[in-house]
């Protein structure tokens, strides 16, 4: 998730920023919550953490895809090599 935040800060374009933040957030969040499940053991809270992991693995890429779709419809151009950063 730290790498995703640095990608959101440093990359030159909207599409590359969406790429960095979306994937790093989804996978990092799933791994941290799997760690909490192993720490907790087999209880009801572990089941709630599993539900949270499943919900986030569905919802977070959907939200990022909706935002990228809006950006493409509004006419945000992709960055090409040699251009100025946006």
């Amino acid at each position: 998730m730290v790498v995703g935040a640095f990608g959101l800060l440093r990359l030159p374009d909207f599409y590359t920023r969406a790429h960095a933040s979306g994937k790093c957030d989804t996978l990092g969040e799933g791994l941290i919550l799997i760690g909490f499940m192993l720490y907790e053991g087999a209880t009801l809270i572990s089941l709630k953490l599993l539900l949270l992991i499943i919900f986030i693995f569905i919802s977070s890429p959907t939200a990022v895809h909706a935002l990228v779709n809006v950006a493409y419809a509004r006419g945000v151009r992709p960055w090409r090599k040699g251009e100025e950063r946006q």
């Binding site: 935040a5 909207f14 909490f36 809270i45 949270l52 986030i56 939200a63 909706a66 779709n69 950006a71």
Partner: protein, 87 residues
């Protein structure tokens, strides 16, 4: 084990401040929106960490509700920017 939770929580809050730069200075609406989405997904993890740190794991319920609220808000704003109305 408490030290590991505390260190990961502090690192995540530092990461949230890195994303806050993109919210303040980002060019256009779309960059700010994706930074807000990222902050929302990091806040869920911070809530779970606080719950395990203070010995109250029922904070997981609050983080589930927060995840749903963030998802619905992002989809609603995306639909508004696409069509001009929420309908």
């Amino acid at each position: 084990m408490i030290d590991i939770f505390l260190a990961s929580g502090i690192i995540l809050i530092f990461t949230i401040f890195l994303c806050l730069y993109r919210v303040v200075f980002g060019p256009g609406v779309i960059n700010r929106l994706i930074a807000v989405n990222t902050i929302g997904t990091k806040t869920i993890i911070v809530l779970v960490i606080i719950g395990f740190l203070f010995g109250r794991p029922l904070f997981v319920d609050i983080s589930i509700v927060y995840a749903m609220i963030t998802f619905i808000a992002t989809l609603a704003i995306a639909k508004y920017l696409r069509r001009g109305c929420i309908c």
